[in-house]
Subunit: 453 residues, 2 copies
């Protein structure tokens, strides 16, 4: 039931929107949209076919335009930007936070970027250019240079008065940073501690100096891991000289974690995570056909193996009937091992120090599963074809393929990781190619040797 | 390079730990472990084989024991708890936050639960029992009843004085909640606004009443979506009568998002996300053999289809060589469509209102891919077997299977969602069963009709 509620919230909005769009009355559509958060509007736009998307996009409050652009995938973003004229784009993005603007910048026309840079004061322009100078998936690119700093040699009361004077704080400010004259990070003070402490107490008594800052070169994956290991809401970013450059906030980290998961899920099927649900057909074909081509190459390899045994199949057609079972189940077994390994590698739990223990465990699991499944398939094959030698051959081939699955499932991702290839994306093709080849070869090979003696 | 740095942090700790354990000097191991955050210790324990895990677990500072237990998977947690005597367990868990304790409670021995309940004061015991009364994946189970509330008819200065008196605030307190005498939620005040406002200003001027609270029955998935759509750090939980029951914080939400991703990735391979990397072999076999059995059933179905055409294969062995290509590539194409649909459904972007548009798009993509891949495979088949009718048959079968893949890829997950079955877990088996059956049937069927006229 909770499932139904959850699934339905966006779906219900979508249905209301569709109905309203169909009836052509745009007033209710506009009202509905402008009750939503920018991320929700983005989600809704992604779920609309291009013609309707364009209508709804025109109804979004221009004030939200920038935030909505931040919250959609690259392909949808391109289509939305294509619908705007340069002035609109400039108005939409010029008030964005620097980290969000940096996120958009590659999709923006050059003329727009020039306009936006011109509209910034010198300090902001320099900060923005600094953020852009870091590589895409790094802490430097994720950080927002807007931080609140205080000195250590003062009291809580003075800090509170300074904050009142300063006015509004950057979003998700849960800490103030303590820096010295050279802007080096000395520690941080929690807002929570500030409001519960005696106004007269010196700030340096509240400093938390046990925490470490993020280095500007750290990868976004490592940033995400640190945030979730330490339950941070925000964290400071420093350079080699410990100079405070900016801060990263949890909302960006949540996006990273979601993106990682999408990248894995879609990558495993050979899809780009930026693919729009309603990509133009040409684009979708281009995006998918490469992956199908790679899989086709491995399918031809498997066919070639079968081709080596044409003479055997000609004599015992039952082999052709049963051979997909050997290859298929081997592939399933390999995917199980691969999936566990991919997770272990992503969490840093698998390395040289425990690979051999894991391999040995998987070989034992494969032996038992191979005997169980192999025995069962052998039995069914006997009932079907009344040939106990054929039964033995398929059972033995399955056992061999389970062992191949365990070896490939453990060793392929380890090797890929070492070669800096993402096993979550490329692992599946390789391990199933192994189990296809070993499956067909062992089954047809054993049959040739034993049945055609 | 960043990749290497990231991957290596845990791996490096693991290697240091392994070396130290091997040398038998436990002093350095203890020192290393106790520099880590509880979540990092949990991650490390998960990466160790059972015997070493047990040694390292004994070296963890007892003060961290409870937090570490919160941060490991169910299976590992069980093995850690089995290593402790009841007193140790009570000491480890009695100081946990109520939401964390609720998370552990199912793995704890009854005697321990009784002890812990006895050690609580009445208010906490009642709160704890209330949290436990909500179903597992609901907002009620995730919330922490420990909230800071203030009245609206007061000033910033009074609130600050109250906070100083109260002392330490619950973790991740970024808002204070405004309630009336009946504890109904009227709004919330950001700590950020509190510290930047004039002490004399009335609290009700700072109230943010545009935000909506979470309902206690909401599913954890919906909670996660709301958090990421609104960039919340914490959110209040209320019941039907708008009575404030507790609050949920972003750290729990990050865990939900990670768990969802794991559930999808592991579920698609028929694995339980709680599976320990070093599960005992018996347990791993039990966990995986069911899934292999399900896949075996579909493999037998495919074999049965091939069996209908034994006579055809006997006459044209080339069919046996080529048939896995038709089935396999169809399966890949179906998985691509399924993966896009699963993501769309998870984000609420796919529903009755756009299903037909999507289906039509996928049919067009499938037609083009089917013609491209079918044409190419037909060409290769001609070069291999010099039989242009066979080439035509395989091209036609591939086109048919691509269309079947598009239909199954769109319709299977939609149907499953309606039947409350998770398409991320069960979708793959079904769509590949469809493409296996359609692939073998169309290829061998067309061959029988056309080649054996």
């Amino acid at each position: 039931m909770a499932e139904a509620v959850r699934q339905d919230k966006t779906a219900r909005q979508l249905r209301m929107l569709s109905d309203a769009l169909e009836s052509g009355r745009l007033g209710p559509v506009r009202r509905l949209i402008n009750t939503l958060a920018p991320a929700e509007i983005g989600n809704l736009l992604e779920s609309l076919p291009p013609d309707r998307r364009s209508v709804v996009w025109g109804l979004v409050d221009p004030e939200d335009d920038g935030e909505v652009l931040v919250h959609v995938g690259d392909e949808v973003r391109e289509s939305l930007i294509a619908d705007m004229d340069p002035d609109e784009i400039v108005a939409a993005v010029e008030d964005l936070d620097i980290d969000d603007l940096a996120d958009l910048v590659e999709e923006l026309p050059d003329t727009v970027i020039d306009e936006v840079l011109k509209s910034m004061d010198r300090e902001n322009r320099e900060r923005f250019e600094q953020v852009l100078s870091y590589p895409e998936d790094s802490a430097g690119r994720l950080m927002n240079p807007d931080v609140v700093t205080v000195r250590a040699d003062t009291t809580v009361d003075v800090v509170l008065r300074y904050l009142r004077l300063r006015g509004e704080l950057p979003e998700h400010t849960d800490h103030l940073y303590i820096v010295n004259r050279r802007h080096q990070l000395l520690g941080w003070v929690a807002l929570q501690d500030l409001v519960t402490s005696d106004p007269a107490s010196p700030v340096n008594r509240l400093i938390d100096d046990t925490l470490t800052a993020l280095h500007v070169d750290e990868s976004s994956d490592e940033v995400a891991r640190q945030f979730s290991d330490h339950d941070w809401v925000s964290a400071p970013v420093v350079d080699d000289g410990n100079i405070l450059l900016g801060r990263i906030t949890i909302d960006d980290v949540v996006d990273i974690i979601r993106d990682q998961a999408e990248h894995q899920a879609l990558g495993a099927a050979g899809l780009d995570e930026e693919e729009d649900l309603f990509s133009p057909v040409r684009r979708a074909v281009r995006g998918r056909v490469v992956w199908l081509g790679v899989n086709l190459a491995t399918a031809f390899l498997a066919a070639w193996v079968i081709g080596r045994f044409e003479a055997t199949i000609e004599q015992i057609v039952a082999l052709a009937v049963l051979m997909p079972i050997v290859a298929g189940i081997g592939g399933n077994a390999a995917m199980q091992v691969l999936t566990l390994m991919v997770r272990g590698l992503a969490l840093g739990q698998v390395g040289a120090s425990n690979a051999s223990v894991l391999l040995w465990k998987e070989v034992r699991v494969a032996s038992i599963n191979g005997l169980l499944i192999g025995g069962f398939v052998g039995l069914v094959a006997y009932i079907w074809f009344h040939d106990w030698v054929l039964s033995l051959v398929i059972a033995a081939a399955l056992l061999l393929n389970f062992l191949a699955a365990a070896l490939a499932g453990v060793l392929v991702p380890l090797t890929m990781k070492r070669a800096d290839v993402d096993p979550a994306v490329a692992g599946g093709v390789v391990v199933t190619a192994v189990t296809d080849v070993v499956g067909f070869f062992s089954f047809l090979g054993l049959a040739t040797v034993i049945l055609l003696r």
